[in-house]
Symmetry: C2
Subunit: 290 residues, 2 copies
């Protein structure tokens, strides 16, 4: 017996389904079509909130994720209403400028990069931003040839939590818009500007503040830095997982700062080190002992 699906919402092999799935692949496809995927409730709902103008974005972040021009398409399953009623409500609030469709489980899985889909996928416009990062920010995290999507995403999430003004990424860093990185940001990608392909030499030269290289062999120990020192406007450079920052990149830094290792661990994962560095600066800048 031959069964022919009546429409694409039930057909994992439909052309539309393949086109969405392609956005999970190579960056060339995303760049040509100027779109990427926000999969799962955390990422997709923050993209939709940006689209609906519900996030209190900074002026520069709003250039990345403009209200009314962030989300292109949303696909979801019946299951979403039960598993995440908040996300389902946000979809209801989208007007007709966004293509919204309920699909079968099989179709959403076929679109998804994840091993198990999470009932919602948004197709998001790649940001179109003319200007580069500000030179007058207070706190910035720089991804310098970070290769692991999970690390890049986790650092973006931590930078958001720490209230960083933006994240910058050098040309040889992993593609920020690949689905694994987007998922790892847990929605934070849509909360602050992430500038990609940044010329590190020019940016660090112009930045009006201090440049810290996170460096296990650094001569400044983070636990010996004063709050006043840490409270200055700061760009933190986080280097490649295997090789750290290279000699050239280290010359851009005013200080090489080491996270102290008190136990027997020989190193920290770069995203763990970044968490300690960014939060040390943020708490010195914004906190105050009572």
């Amino acid at each position: 017996m031959h069964h022919r699906p009546v429409n694409w919402m039930d057909n994992p092999n439909a052309e539309r389904v393949k086109r969405v799935a392609q956005l999970a692949g190579r960056s060339a496809v995303r760049n040509r079509r100027k779109q990427f995927l926000a999969e799962g409730p955390q990422s997709a709902t923050e993209a939709i909130r940006a689209h609906l103008g519900l996030l209190e974005l900074s002026e520069l972040a709003a250039e990345f994720w403009p209200a009314g021009h962030t989300v292109a398409e949303v696909y979801y399953t019946e299951q979403l209403t039960a598993s995440n009623p908040e996300a389902a409500q946000l979809i209801e609030d989208l007007s007709t400028d966004v293509f919204v469709a309920k699909t079968s489980e099989a179709v959403l899985q076929a679109m998804s990069d994840a091993v198990v889909h999470q009932n919602i996928i948004a197709v998001v416009h790649l940001p179109v931003v003319q200007a580069g990062p500000s030179t007058q920010d207070k706190l910035v995290g720089a991804l310098v040839r970070i290769q692991d999507p999970g690390n890049a995403g986790t650092i973006i999430r931590t930078a958001d939590a720490a209230g960083a003004d933006c994240v910058i990424a050098t040309p040889q860093t992993v593609d920020i818009y690949n689905p694994k990185t987007v998922r790892s940001t847990a929605g934070s990608l849509f909360h602050l500007p992430v500038y990609i392909g940044v010329d590190l030499e020019g940016y660090t030269h112009d930045f009006q503040g201090q440049i810290f290289a996170a460096d296990g062999y650094g001569d400044v120990r983070l636990d010996q830095a004063t709050a006043a020192f840490l409270a200055q406007p700061t760009v933190w450079l986080f280097g490649n997982e295997a090789r750290g920052l290279n000699a050239q990149e280290l010359t851009y830094a005013d200080h090489r700062v080491a996270v102290p290792l008190y136990g027997l661990a020989e190193s920290l994962n770069v995203s763990t080190a970044a968490t300690i560095c960014l939060y040390s600066s943020a708490m010195a800048q914004r906190g105050g002992s009572t």
Copy 2:
């Protein structure tokens, strides 16, 4: 043509290979055989270093990983010598009390829990420890119903780096000896005592210091705590990923301490929060502004 492998080192279906692979499965198997797996160079070499007495372990950590009685078996591939000569040398240093064998790639993959094996697997004795955790430690991380192996392992790794005296885990926490947790500790499992099945109520009652609950809704903000406050002997409680600490567990804490969220992120991953909490205490206890 029928090919019959001549010995188990080339035969992924050999009984010995299956027995090793079983240790990657359910905790019941590990508990019955009193063994677990340390896979990959980072974990396996630290187990071997403990066995060889090369680590500067605390007295209590040495009860977990006694020299001469930590590693039972080591399996590795030809490839290890090229990819990790240091690990290969450590294997050479093992005496005949450890069963050591070079295997084919297929055999090591069949033994491994990882998608791609990393050329070395050690079979390690489950620690036999009579006493529970000390009540006079300076810094302790507590895994309270943490479910994700990666989070548990990452917190153990950070606790090691922060110089914590030990990590404790409550009965409903993920099995510390499952291969994913062991891998995530990146060798730190063999650096400090990790007490499992700890009665949290009794332990926190007896502990001679302060108990902090890491709690996003806490009334003490980490960035408003003084260094003197953070420098006291402290146990940090880190709760379940989805539900945090429950009402009962919160009563064990002297203070509920929140990591401030300065940006738009609504929460932090528990291992990220634990990193900030443990390092804030460690730097207050051990650091000193210059």
